[in-house]
């Protein structure tokens, strides 16, 4: 809700009125007003990874938590998706988000960490399934499989991204 930089909502929140105050009362944001709908055929880890990749690419690199933290999040989420993560990496992911939020020079770091943290918290079972099964339960069937974060389509950055992660 509000674009890619805010926490995700679940079906439980469907009745929330679409205004800043009502959303704010529940810890959400109206943001840009954009609503992105993701159904159960989509792997939420893939979604979180793409959000994180996007913000890693967007980070200007000036302050430490955002420059380093966004890259670390990408590494962690990729490990979850690929099935090489362990249970404690989920805690670590949340902790890294926590260590970014509110500590950066601008709000870009928050924008990366808030959605990622909300995915891990609200879809814990789906994340855990990745860890336990040693890979993605959706695989190529996920709506996002084969769809990459916009940054990975930028020819000029793909090399840097490869090197960076």
């Amino acid at each position: 809700m509000g674009g890619s930089s805010f926490p995700v909502m679940t079906p439980d929140d469907l009745d929330t009125p679409l205004d800043a105050n009502s959303l704010g009362a529940k810890g959400y944001f109206i943001g840009s007003g954009v609503v992105t709908v993701i159904d159960e055929r989509t792997c939420i880890v893939q979604f979180a990874l793409r959000v994180a990749q996007f913000y890693m690419h967007e980070s200007c690199g000036k302050c430490t938590p955002c420059r380093v933290g966004t890259r670390w999040l990408v590494q962690l989420l990729r490990a979850v998706e690929e099935g090489t993560a362990r249970e404690r990496d989920l805690e670590l992911t949340l902790d890294v988000c926590d260590r970014i939020i509110g500590k950066c020079l601008c709000v870009l770091g928050d924008s990366a960490a808030m959605p990622v943290a909300s995915c891990v918290t609200k879809f814990r079972d789906e994340f855990r399934a990745h860890v336990e099964q040693g890979g993605c339960p959706f695989g190529a069937d996920s709506q996002l499989a084969g769809l990459f974060a916009p940054v990975d389509q930028h020819a000029h950055t793909s090399v840097a991204q490869e090197a960076a992660v």
Binding site: H57, S59, G61, C63, T64, R67, V68, R99, K103, L105
Partner: protein
């Protein structure tokens, strides 16, 4: 003084500081550390990049970067000592910094004096949770022959780039790429060059930017940092010499806020290896055949010196370099003037006491409204740090002018005059100008004369203080005593030696004396001496013997030689200084000169000491095709620099600087070949148009001038060829 005091509470301690004081400094007043990496007030506004300084501030929802805040009344701040949240925030920053940091401590030159190690120990996580591959880079990359860059260790605090952008203003160090791939690099990958590059090795809070000369040379527990003063130019920056096992391994700044603010130039920082140059002398040399010098014992050398001095029968002429300490110059003067009645000397500089009424600390340039820079030699080449003060004045809004008649000078409140170049008559010219402008006694107003030698003033003081007698120039020179390397490499001095019956040279380097001296006595360097120097402000400063020289101190053998002529010279700097001080420095004791010497006034100082009759070269060019060529001694030149391989890339390009006006009239563009000449000799060099140069002036480094100077014809090279 009148700044309003505000009350700030830091970790439950209340302090009162002037409003607007930085929070980091305020905390220090309360005895509390706010750890920082990127914060460095000398680099301008804080950037808040590293997030090491996170603190909790009452009334603010999130942690704040303490370095970006200033003291406000009633502010209540909690640091990691009393706030769990702040402690967590700082721990987080360090965890992030260390995520990609290499495990290099055992092989990193910064190890043991590394803020990252220290702060990690105090505030950081005990172990790592990072299990992925770290970012790696090719390393270390030499960004110049003197500095290497390790991008893996870089924590991107941007201190180095901010220095380059807003202190030295060279713009050569920049950040490239974005986000996780951000790196520090040099503009267009060119070597980082300029007068001040080495300062970034001290600013860098980690082992990312390191001096190549110090690579693997020492560990903090094996070294001592000895406080002394740089003796390579008249600024007299306060420095530490890092010494290990009797050798100087590194030079660091020692921040004298009135002189250098902690910045030193690359000559002062990197030229120290000249102490171990291949042709460094430890033993005296005596002429045996027509051109052959042979090593002899000190006993024999002093015997020979005594003989030469006696044989000269008072017809001794002394040439001084201006790099002698006050004490050495005085001891030499006493031997020669009192002992041998030989008063003739070529002093290194003309100096003028009339400047004393306009003395100011260098730091006051920063606060000036108008700085008038006269004299046509680039300030950076002669007194580098003065150039930094002028730059900071400009950043503070001052106008930098090259004409004292500019109406802005009359309107300004704080006016500072700087003379850098020929024709200054040791400061008399600029003092007269200051008088005309009515600067005497006005707050923040004053005048500086930038001499060519590090201690020309002190040497002149000492030489004059020794005795009042004078002798008529006797025509024939019985013995020429050449003191110091600068005098020894001077062509005019060598020409004078041709006329002398005999020549004694005191020099550190065999290469300088070979072929023309009859006796060579090894000299010491400024890092090896006890003594005092007087800098361009007129400030007396203390040099220390940071390492033992390979030969006896000058004072030691001068004293012995003096005794043979019935003159009493003490072999210790303190005792010699006491004698000079009685006469010139108001009886100040050696021990009182001070580690960070204040600017004192010495009413007993000389009125005016002329070097020799100097021509007044300020006549305007006569014809349109003519310009006045200023051949200046570049910063990166001289006996010491010539012996440091790493500094050779800094030597000036062969090029001729032209004013925009002269270039336009002759249709010359930067890069075009131009020819300047007079009296049949000419040089052809690529031109560089400099819009800061006055019309009618052309400029070239002395080593490319081929002896030319003064009024010359200037033309584009092909015109000369076709004519």
């Amino acid at each position: 003084m009148s700044a309003e005091l505000v009350r700030v509470t830091i970790d439950e301690r209340e302090v009162h500081v002037p409003k607007g004081t930085g929070l980091v400094e305020t905390a220090l007043v309360a005895g509390v550390e706010i750890p920082v990496f990127c914060y460095e007030p000398r680099l301008g506004e804080p950037v808040g990049a590293c997030r090491m300084c996170l603190v909790e501030v009452d009334g603010m929802p999130k942690l704040q970067a303490g370095c970006t805040l200033t003291a406000q009344d009633g502010m209540v701040v909690k640091t990691a000592r009393t706030s769990q949240q702040a402690a967590e925030g700082q721990n987080a920053t360090l965890e992030f910094i260390l995520v990609n940091h290499p495990l290099d401590c055992p092989v990193c030159d910064k190890g043991g004096e590394c803020p990252l190690q220290d702060l990690t120990f105090r505030y950081g996580p005990g172990n790592t949770r990072m299990s992925f591959e770290k970012l790696t880079f090719e390393k270390p990359i030499p960004i110049s022959p003197t500095i290497s860059l390790d991008r893996e260790r870089c924590i991107l605090c941007y201190r180095c780039t901010r220095f380059s952008e807003s202190v030295s203003e060279d713009g050569q160090l920049v950040a490239a790429n974005r986000g996780a791939m951000s790196v520090i690099t040099t503009f267009e990958d060119l070597p980082y060059s300029g007068a001040f590059t080495g300062n970034v090795t001290e600013l860098c809070p980690v082992g990312a930017l390191l001096p190549t000369q110090y690579r693997f040379e020492g560990r903090p527990w094996e070294i001592v940092d000895v406080p002394t003063v740089c003796g390579l130019c008249p600024v007299g920056c306060n420095i530490y010499a890092t010494v290990r096992e009797g050798k100087v391994k590194r030079i660091l700044s020692r921040n004298h806020p009135e002189i250098d603010e902690g910045w030193i130039c690359d000559k002062g920082r990197f030229a120290y290896t000249h102490l171990r140059a291949e042709d460094r002398l430890a033993q005296p040399l005596q002429r045996v055949r027509r051109h052959g010098l042979e090593q002899v014992s000190w006993e024999q050398a002093l015997g020979e010196a005594e003989r030469l001095l006696r044989d000269a029968r008072g017809r001794v002429v002394t040439v001084l370099s201006g790099s002698e300490t006050v004490e050495q110059a005085y001891a030499l003067a006493k031997l020669l003037r009192v002992g041998l009645d030989s008063h003739q000397a070529m002093l290194p500089e003309e100096i003028s006491g009339s400047l004393d009424a306009y003395r100011l600390p260098l730091s006051s340039i920063r606060d000036a409204d108008v700085v008038v820079v006269l004299g046509d030699v680039p300030v950076v080449e002669r007194a580098p740090v003065v150039d930094l003060w002028i730059k900071s004045a400009r950043r503070n809004g001052a106008r930098i002018l090259d004409d004292a008649n500019d109406p802005a000078v009359g309107e300004a409140e704080r006016v500072v005059l700087v003379w850098c170049g020929p024709g200054g008559r040791g400061g008399a010219t600029v003092a007269k100008l200051a008088e005309k402008l009515g600067l005497a006694g006005r707050e923040g107003c004053g005048a500086f004369y930038l001499p060519e030698t590090p201690n020309g003033r002190g040497v002149a003081d000492a030489w004059a203080a020794c005795c009042d007698e004078e002798s008529e120039p006797s025509g024939a020179i019985g013995l020429l005593v050449v003191s110091g390397d600068e005098a020894a490499r001077d062509e005019n001095v060598r020409a004078l030696a041709e006329q002398a019956e005999a020549t004694i040279v005191i020099s550190m380097f065999g290469g300088l004396a070979a072929g023309w001296a009859d006796l060579v006595l090894p000299g010491t360097g400024y890092l090896e001496r006890e003594g005092t120097f007087v800098n361009l402000e007129g400030r007396l400063q203390r040099l220390r013997r940071t390492v033992t020289p390979p030969c006896p101190d000058e004072l030691e053998w001068i004293a012995e030689l003096a005794a043979r002529f019935g003159v009493d010279v003490a072999p210790y700097a303190a005792a010699v200084f006491a004698e000079v001080s009685e006469r010139v420095y108001g009886g100040l004791a050696f021990g009182e000169v001070g580690e960070r010497a204040p600017l004192r006034v010495y009413p007993e100082a000389q009125e005016h000491v002329a070097r020799q009759a100097l021509p007044e070269p300020r006549a305007a060019p006569r014809r349109k095709s003519q310009v006045r060529l200023v051949a200046y001694r570049p910063l990166f030149s001289g006996a010491a620099v010539e012996r440091v391989a790493e500094l050779q890339f800094q030597r000036p390009q062969p090029e001729l600087e032209l004013s925009a006006d002269d270039a336009r009239r002759r249709k010359i563009a930067t890069g075009d070949l131009v020819t300047v000449g007079s009296n049949g000799s000419a040089i052809t060099l690529p031109a560089r148009v400099n819009r800061h140069l006055r019309a009618g002036i052309a400029r070239v480094a002395l080593e490319h001038a081929n002896g030319l100077g003064g009024i010359v014809e200037l033309a584009k090279a092909e015109e000369v060829a076709s004519a």
